[in-house]
Symmetry: C2
Subunit: 242 residues, 2 copies
DNA sequence: TAAATGTTAAATGTTGACAAAATGAGGCAA
DNA sequence: TTGCCTCATTTTGTCAACATTTAACATTTA
């Protein structure tokens, strides 16, 4: 019987933890589609572990929001509605703004040259990516930018929630919906945030971040209303059972 | 063998869910102290269920932050450091501010007379409680105020995270630390928030909320530095294993 | 005496089996 | 045909037993 392929660099903590990571990867990679039902025995067989272990992994993922549980019916990959996405966007933005404020506040206390340098390098790399119209590079740099801020805020709990939200938002994919961000504007907004942080002005950092988040949501909603055709979004979280 | 006493009003969904609620209640009530180890067999015996069920409940609570898991060693009630509390305070405040902004935004769209009336009644009740120096009533009203805002924001995910944070913050209790809020100031800040919401000004609501949260944290830290004696706070999350 | 090592008891990690609930197919009557 | 009921099958919920790891104690040795 095939055993779960060697997990990357992670020394084994518990089997259930490995199974959890594996299922999470499948979900985020889209191999398990939103709305799809997770069959405990099937997963147990595929991964070569017992059902109880799979069960434990599924429960854990449910608490993180990637999976929805229904008593006596089972587990389903969370299917996000447009409303859900907007809510997640709001929440993620609020945490990001808090992170920016926290970094700025910390910077006002003791200067962290390394972080500022890293943020400015990120800005510079982004401008280069913009010049050569390199979208993939921009995406990665954008994620790195937000990660650096959250890590710099030195608030592990907030970073944990934030990362969870980012994962959950990955669940939302609409056929043919290509988000084309306004890279130039985004870079300017990032620059404003970095400036406020470097100035140690937490209020300004929060405002700049809030503005960045709001304009991002506006662009997203615009793309959505442009791209979405007659096809309506599902009202139920567990519409499709396979 | 004694079975778990009838859960209050909760119709039974799953046994593990009941066990989870029961353990959570014990933790929040302080019957299980921060740092204390949770023994699976002992809990299973006390509650009259199998160890696997207790295990499932514990894992679920761990994901919510009330419990810390250590592989092959077990589960411990999360013991918060002062830093943890500050981080939770920041995060909770950010979500609250977002909630205020969301409510105001919604109010600008379609007027919700019932919510405004409820908020103003809460303010009025708070003033009365202040006049007769009724602290317990103030506490309840304060919690109700924040709950109403979060519920009014119509962002279930945010409300879920917020409620989780509130529970987690309950874990922090210091011997002889009596938080004496500035009720008068707090009421004024609440009034500002309500006014911004009623005006449908999401930016003003966010600012008022942020200000409220920050001054609340300041008061808390002040109380902390006044009340804390030589006794130092634990650096490790799982210092005491019992 | 104190550090290191071997041994034992207890707790957690994992599994397979049984019980209860939900789904779906088939038959029967209107 | 349509609607409803019954029953078999599938799937989840719960439990008890086995395997592995950890922690504490006893023993040995420098």
């Amino acid at each position: 019987m095939m055993t779960v392929s060697k997990i990357i660099g992670a020394r084994r903590e518990t089997l259930a933890g490995e199974v959890r990571s594996e299922i999470e990867r499948w979900i985020l990679a889209g191999e398990l589609e939103p709305g799809q039902k997770l069959n405990e025995v099937a997963l147990a067989n595929v991964m070569g572990v017992s059902r109880g272990t799979v069960r434990e992994a599924i429960r854990s993922l449910a608490d993180s929001g990637l999976i929805v549980l229904v008593a006596n019916r089972g587990a389903f990959v969370h299917q996000l509605t447009v409303d859900d996405i907007c809510n997640l966007y709001d929440l993620r933005g609020a945490i990001f703004a808090m992170g920016c404020a926290a970094v700025a506040r910390r910077m006002a206390g003791e200067w962290d040259e390394a972080l500022i340098a890293a943020l400015q390098k990120n800005l510079e790399d982004m401008r280069k990516a913009y010049d050569r119209d390199d979208r993939p590079a921009y995406y990665d740099l954008n994620i790195a930018f937000h990660d650096m801020i959250l890590a710099g805020a030195q608030n592990p709990k907030a970073k944990g929630v934030y990362d969870g939200l980012v994962k959950e938002m990955h669940l939302f994919r609409r056929r043919g919906l290509s988000v084309s961000p306004n890279i130039a504007q985004s870079i300017n907004e990032h620059a404003n945030i970095v400036a406020a942080i470097a100035a140690g002005d937490s209020g300004a950092a929060r405002r700049a971040a809030t503005h960045h988040v709001e304009s991002g949501l506006d662009r997203f909603l615009k793309t959505l209303s442009d791209g979405s055709t007659a096809e309506e979004h599902p009202k139920s979280d567990i519409a499709r059972s396979n």
